[in-house]
C-alpha cells in the first residue's frame, strides 16, 4: 500500500499555528514595544539625558517588559502546544492518528521554537534597519543587536525545552506551568536550601561559602535576570547543550508515557513517590530556612521543619490524588519523619569530626579571618581598592587564629542562630596541599576567653594592613587631606593640599594605626571628626579619628589645625541625649525641659566629658542600647545641627546616672 513518504505533516503545523500563533504575535508586539519603539520615542523626544547612556545593552530598554516576555512566552507556548497531552479527548484523538509520538513532539517543538525565535529575529531586523538608516549609535551598535538576539534566543530555548520536558511528565496544564518554573529554579534553590539547613545541623558550616554568586548561575531564570548583560559564548553553548539534552529526555519520556494518565498531576508511577517526598523534603527545608533566618531561637527551626514537612507532604498528596481528603494518610508522613530525623541526627552527630577540625599550624598556607559581619572570602572586593590581600600568614597570627578557633568550638552551641548582635565569624584555612577548610560561626565575640587571641591578631601589623586601606597607600599617592570636625562640617572643614604637610600627616596616621592597642580598637573613644583622604587614583578613604592617634593629634597641633579639626565644648550651646529607640528627633525639636526620656546638657564641663567619651555606634564591640546625642550650635536651640548614635556604655557617668543605666 503506498504511503506518502513526506516526513513533514503541514496540517499539524497549521493546527499548531491556529492554536498558538497568537502567542508569537503578542511576543513580537511586546518586543517591538520594549525596544525599537522605545528607541524611536527617545530619539523623537530629543532627550539629551539619553545622549550619554552608560550601558548600551539592548536589554536596558524596558527591562521589566523584556524579562516578563522572555521568561513567560516559552512556557505559555509549551503549555498550549502540549495541552493535547493533558486533555483526554484530544490525547485519544491525536494518538489514534498514524503518526509516531516522536514525530508529533518534533512537529510541536519546531513550531514552538519558530514562534519564540521569529519575533526576536524580526525585532532584531527592525533594529538593524534602524541602525543602518538612522544615526543612533549612542543608543546601540550592531554588535549589541547580535548579543541581544543571541541571549534572548538561548534563554528562550532553554526555558521552552524545560517546559516540554515537564509537559511529558505531567498530565495537567496548570501543573506543567507551575512545575516548569519550579524545575527551572530548582538547581539554585536546592543548593541554597541544603546549604542553609546544613548550617543549622553542623556547627561552623559556612553556607555563604557554598552559596556565593555562582549559585545564581545554576538557574536559567536567576542567571538571566542577574547576568543578562554578561552572558558568555561558552555559557550560551552550555545552555544549548542542556536544551538538547532536555529535549532528548523529553522524547524518550513521551515514548514511554502512559496516555491514560492525562489529567493526573504526574504521569509516571515511578516519579510519584519521588515527587511526593521531594516536595515534602523541599518544603521541610524551606520551613527551616524561613524560620531559621527570620527568628533568633533554634526551636523555631524545628517548628519550621514540622510546619514545612506537613504542608509539603499533604500538598503533594493532594496534587497527586486530586482531592482535599488526604488527611487520613499519615503513614507515609510518619515514615518520612522517622527517616528525616535519622538523617538529621546522623549529620548532627558529626561522625567525620567536621565540627572539631582545626588544621595543624604547619599545614596552613594562609588564613582568611574576618570578624565583622561582611563576608568577602573568595569574592571580588571592588570597593576596597587598597586591600590587595585577604590573608593572615605569620606564624603568630596562624597560632592565634587556631587558638581562637579552638575556643570558639568550645564555646559555641547549636543554638547560636542569628542573635541580632551576634557577629559572623569567618575562618578559611588555605592549606599547603591545596585544600581549603572554611568555617563560619554566629557568636558574641566579646566573650572573655576569646580576647587574648583577638588581641594578638588585631594588634598585628599584618591584620591591620588587611583592615586599614591607608596602610597600603604610599604617602606620595595622597593628594588631599580633609578633616571634618563632626559638627557644622560645611563651615569648619580643614583641608590640606601641601604635599609636605600631607606627607607628615599620613606618616603620623600610619604610625598611630600601627601602634593602636587592642583595647583602643574594640572600645576606644573618638573625636567626632572624620578624616578623608583623597588619593591620586581619585579614591576616597575615610577614617574615624580615634583619640589614641597621638602622633596625628600632635601634627594637627604643630600645624595650628587642631582647633578647627576637632569640636570643643565652647562651640556647642547645648547637647540633647535620648534613647535611640524612641522618637528622639521629636523630643529634641519640641521639648526644652528635661524629662525622664530626655536630658539636655548645657554645662561646658559636662559637654566636654560627653565629647571625650564619644564613640561611633559602628566601631569595635559597640552593643545596644544606643543613645542619640544631638548637638545644638549657636542661637538656634530648636534644630540640632548634628546627631550621632553612641553605645550607652560610652556615656559619661552623670548621664548614665540620669537614665538609670547600669
Amino acid at each position: 500500500m503506498p504511503l506518502k513518504t513526506s516526513w513533514f505533516k503541514k496540517e499539524i503545523i497549521k493546527h499548531d499555528l491556529r492554536n498558538v500563533g497568537w502567542i508569537g504575535i503578542i511576543y513580537l508586539c511586546a518586543l517591538i514595544f520594549a525596544v525599537p519603539l522605545e528607541i524611536l520615542l527617545r530619539i523623537s523626544n530629543e532627550d539629551y539625558n539619553n545622549y550619554y547612556m552608560d550601558e548600551t545593552s539592548l536589554f536596558n530598554f524596558h527591562l521589566e517588559i523584556q524579562y516578563f516576555a522572555i521568561l513567560l512566552v516559552p512556557v505559555v507556548l509549551a503549555v498550549f502546544l502540549f495541552r493535547y497531552l493533558h486533555v483526554k479527548g484530544s490525547t485519544d484523538f491525536i494518538h489514534s492518528l498514524p503518526i509516531k509520538r516522536e514525530k508529533l513532539i518534533h512537529h510541536h517543538a519546531i513550531t514552538g521554537i519558530c514562534l519564540v525565535i521569529l519575533p526576536v529575529i524580526i525585532t532584531a531586523i527592525i533594529l538593524l534597519i534602524m541602525s543602518v538608516t538612522m544615526d543612533i549609535s549612542n543608543y546601540f551598535v550592531v554588535t549589541d543587536i547580535g548579543y541581544w538576539l543571541g541571549v534572548t534566543i538561548v534563554v528562550n530555548i532553554v526555558i521552552f525545552a524545560s517546559a516540554i520536558l515537564i509537559a511529558t511528565v505531567t498530565g495537567i496544564s496548570t501543573v506543567q506551568g507551575v512545575l516548569t518554573y519550579i524545575f527551572l529554579l530548582f538547581p539554585a534553590g536546592i543548593v541554597v536550601l541544603v546549604m542553609f539547613n546544613m548550617d543549622y545541623l553542623l556547627i561552623g558550616f559556612s553556607e555563604q561559602y557554598y552559596t556565593n554568586r555562582s549559585v545564581i548561575e545554576l538557574s536559567p531564570i536567576t542567571d538571566f535576570v542577574d547576568n543578562f548583560d554578561q552572558f558568555s559564548l561558552f555559557k550560551s553553548i552550555v545552555y544549548l547543550i542542556i536544551s538538547v539534552a532536555l529535549y532528548v529526555v523529553s522524547v524518550q519520556l513521551y515514548r514511554r508515557r502512559h496516555l491514560e494518565f492525562a489529567s493526573q498531576a504526574i504521569t509516571f508511577s515511578l516519579l510519584k513517590p519521588i515527587f511526593k517526598y521531594g516536595v515534602t523534603l523541599c518544603m521541610t527545608m524551606l520551613g527551616g530556612f524561613y524560620f531559621g533566618e527570620t527568628q533568633t531561637q533554634y526551636y523555631w527551626v524545628i517548628i519550621g521543619y514540622l510546619i514545612g514537612s506537613i504542608l509539603g507532604y499533604f500538598l503533594a498528596e493532594m496534587l497527586l490524588t486530586k482531592t482535599w481528603r488526604v488527611f487520613n494518610k499519615w503513614k507515609g508522613y510518619f515514615f518520612y519523619i522517622i527517616a528525616l530525623a535519622f538523617i538529621f541526627i546522623v549529620i548532627s552527630l558529626d561522625i567525620t569530626g567536621y565540627e572539631n577540625k582545626i588544621p595543624e599550624a604547619d599545614e596552613i598556607e594562609q588564613i582568611y579571618f574576618s570578624t565583622d559581619h561582611y563576608y568577602n572570602y573568595n569574592q571580588e572586593i571592588e570597593e576596597y581598592r587598597y586591600l590587595d590581600s585577604q590573608y593572615v600568614t605569620t606564624v603568630e597570627n596562624i597560632e592565634a587564629v587556631r587558638g581562637f578557633h579552638k575556643q570558639v568550638i568550645e564555646q559555641s552551641t547549636r543554638f547560636d542562630v542569628n542573635d541580632n548582635w551576634f557577629e559572623r565569624i569567618n575562618i578559611a584555612y588555605e592549606l599547603k596541599n591545596g585544600k581549603t577548610i572554611v568555617r563560619e560561626y554566629q557568636m558574641d565575640k566579646t566573650i572573655p576567653a576569646y580576647q587574648p587571641y583577638l588581641k594578638t591578631i588585631y594588634e598585628s601589623t599584618e591584620y591591620k594592613q588587611l583592615n586599614n586601606q591607608i596602610l597600603n597607600v604610599a604617602t606620595n599617592q595622597v593628594e588631599k587631606l580633609t578633616i571634618s570636625p563632626g559638627v557644622n562640617d560645611d563651615e569648619n572643614q580643614t583641608v590640606v593640599f601641601d604635599p609636605q604637610q600631607i606627607q607628615e600627616a599620613i606618616a603620623a596616621l600610619k604610625k598611630d594605626i600601627v601602634n593602636q592597642s587592642f583595647e583602643s580598637i574594640i572600645n576606644g573613644s573618638y573625636y567626632m571628626s572624620t578624616i578623608r583622604i583623597l588619593t591620586s587614583d581619585n579614591e576616597d578613604i575615610f577614617l574615624e579619628f580615634n583619640r589614641s592617634y597621638t602622633n596625628f593629634e600632635a601634627w594637627l597641633k604643630d600645624n595650628q589645625l587642631y582647633e578647627d579639626a576637632v569640636v570643643t565644648a565652647d562651640e556647642i550651646t547645648k547637647v540633647g541625649i535620648a534613647n535611640s529607640e524612641i522618637d528622639f528627633y521629636e523630643l529634641f525639636t519640641n521639648e526644652t525641659e528635661n524629662n525622664s526620656e530626655l536630658l539636655f546638657v548645657e554645662d561646658k564641663e559636662d559637654i566636654q566629658s560627653l565629647l571625650n567619651n564619644y564613640s561611633p555606634s559602628e566601631v569595635g564591640y559597640a552593643r545596644p542600647p544606643f543613645y542619640a546625642i544631638a548637638f545644638f550650635v549657636g542661637e538656634d536651640d530648636k534644630d540640632p545641627t548634628t546627631e550621632y548614635w553612641i553605645p550607652a556604655n560610652n556615656l559619661p557617668d552623670f548621664v548614665k546616672a540620669y537614665f538609670d543605666l547600669n
Partner: protein
C-alpha cells in the same frame, strides 16, 4: 485481521482488563458488549494503538499496532465522546485527515456530503450532537480504513440516522471487506448488524460467539407426555434449562435441531414443539451463573 492475545491492563492498581483474547476476521462486524465500566473503551483504545497494554499483544494485519503508523493508517477510531479541533470547519478537518491518512478519498468525501447534506464550511462544534457524529463517520469513511473501531457509536442518534450509518458501514464491509468493531452496552442496538459478539465483564471476555451459530445451536422445546416424563429422556441432551408448567415441560436445549427431534421422538411425546429463541433469551440461558451481568447488556 485483528488478534488481541492475552491482553491485560492495570490502571492505578485496579485491574481494567485481565487476560483478554479476541479475534476478529476480515470483513466481519464484531460487537463488543458489556456494562459500563467493563473495560470496553480501554480495550478499544488498546486495539487501535492509542494505549499500550501491560501484557499481551495486539496484532492487526500481522503487525503490532502500537506506534505503528503503517497499520494505524488503515485504522480509524471513533470515540464515544467525539473530538474535533476547536474552531475547525468540516473542510478544515477534512484537509487535516487528508494530510494524515494516505488513503483519503476526496470523491468519497464529496459523495458522502450529498448523503449527509451538511455544510462543509460550518464550524463542527456549532453542529448538534447528532450532526457531529455524522461528521465523524463522514471523515472516518472518507479515510477508507480497513478497520473501523466504534465506541458506542449510536448513542444519541435518532432511528433514521442510525439506520443510515449502519447501511454505510454494511456497504463498506460488503464492498471492501472493511473490518468493524462496535462497542455497545445494549445488545439490541447491534444485533442486527453484527456477525460476532463478545461480552466483556469486569475486564474479562466471558463469551465470544458467532451469531449465526448461536441462533442455530440453541432451541426452546415444549414437550408433554401422556404417562409422565421418561427417566432417560435427557440422557443424551445438553439441557440448559427446564421448567415444568402443568403437564408441559419447557426446556432449553443445545444441539442440532434434527438430532433433538430424533432423540425426543423416540419417547413418543403428546406435544412436541421446537421454537426459535430470541438473542436475548439465548444469552440468558447460555450464561447461567454470570447471567446477571448479561442482563444489563440486554435491556
Amino acid at each position: 485481521m485483528i488478534n488481541i492475545n492475552n491482553v491485560s491492563k492495570d490502571f492505578e492498581r485496579s485491574v481494567v482488563l485481565k487476560d483478554v483474547s479476541l479475534h476478529v476476521n476480515q470483513g466481519s462486524i464484531y460487537g463488543l458488549l458489556g456494562s459500563n465500566g467493563a473495560g470496553k473503551t480501554t480495550l478499544l483504545k488498546i486495539a487501535t494503538g492509542i494505549l499500550q497494554q501491560d501484557h499481551g499483544e495486539v496484532v492487526v494485519n500481522e503487525q503490532v499496532i502500537f506506534e505503528n503508523p503503517h497499520i494505524k493508517n488503515n485504522v480509524v477510531f471513533i470515540p464515544d465522546v467525539l473530538y474535533f479541533f476547536s474552531q475547525y470547519t468540516v473542510i478544515q478537518m477534512a484537509k487535516f485527515y487528508e494530510d494524515i491518512y494516505s488513503n483519503w478519498n476526496a470523491e468519497r468525501f464529496a459523495k458522502l456530503q450529498q448523503l449527509f447534506g451538511l455544510d462543509v464550511n460550518k464550524k463542527i462544534q456549532r453542529f448538534s450532537k447528532g450532526m457531529q457524529r455524522q461528521v465523524a463517520f463522514w471523515l472516518a469513511l472518507s479515510a477508507m480504513p480497513d478497520v473501523l473501531v466504534l465506541d458506542e457509536p449510536f448513542d444519541g442518534l435518532d432511528a433514521v440516522i442510525r439506520q443510515k450509518i449502519k447501511n454505510l458501514i454494511i456497504q463498506d464491509v460488503a464492498d471492501r471487506e472493511m473490518t468493524v468493531i462496535i462497542s455497545s452496552h445494549n445488545l439490541r442496538e447491534v444485533e442486527d448488524i453484527c456477525d460476532h459478539i463478545g461480552i466483556l465483564h469486569q475486564g474479562s471476555l466471558i463469551l465470544e460467539k458467532d451469531l449465526d451459530d448461536l441462533k442455530s445451536d440453541i432451541h426452546k422445546v415444549q414437550i408433554a407426555f401422556k404417562d409422565g416424563l421418561p427417566t432417560e429422556l435427557f440422557n443424551h441432551l445438553d439441557v440448559l434449562h427446564k421448567d415444568q408448567r402443568g403437564s408441559v415441560l419447557l426446556c432449553i436445549i443445545r444441539g442440532k435441531d434434527q438430532d433433538i427431534a430424533k432423540h425426543i421422538s423416540q419417547y413418543k411425546p403428546v406435544v412436541y414443539d421446537l421454537l426459535p429463541l430470541t438473542l436475548e433469551e439465548i444469552f440468558i440461558y447460555e450464561m447461567g451463573g454470570v447471567g446477571y451481568a448479561i442482563e444489563n447488556v440486554l435491556v
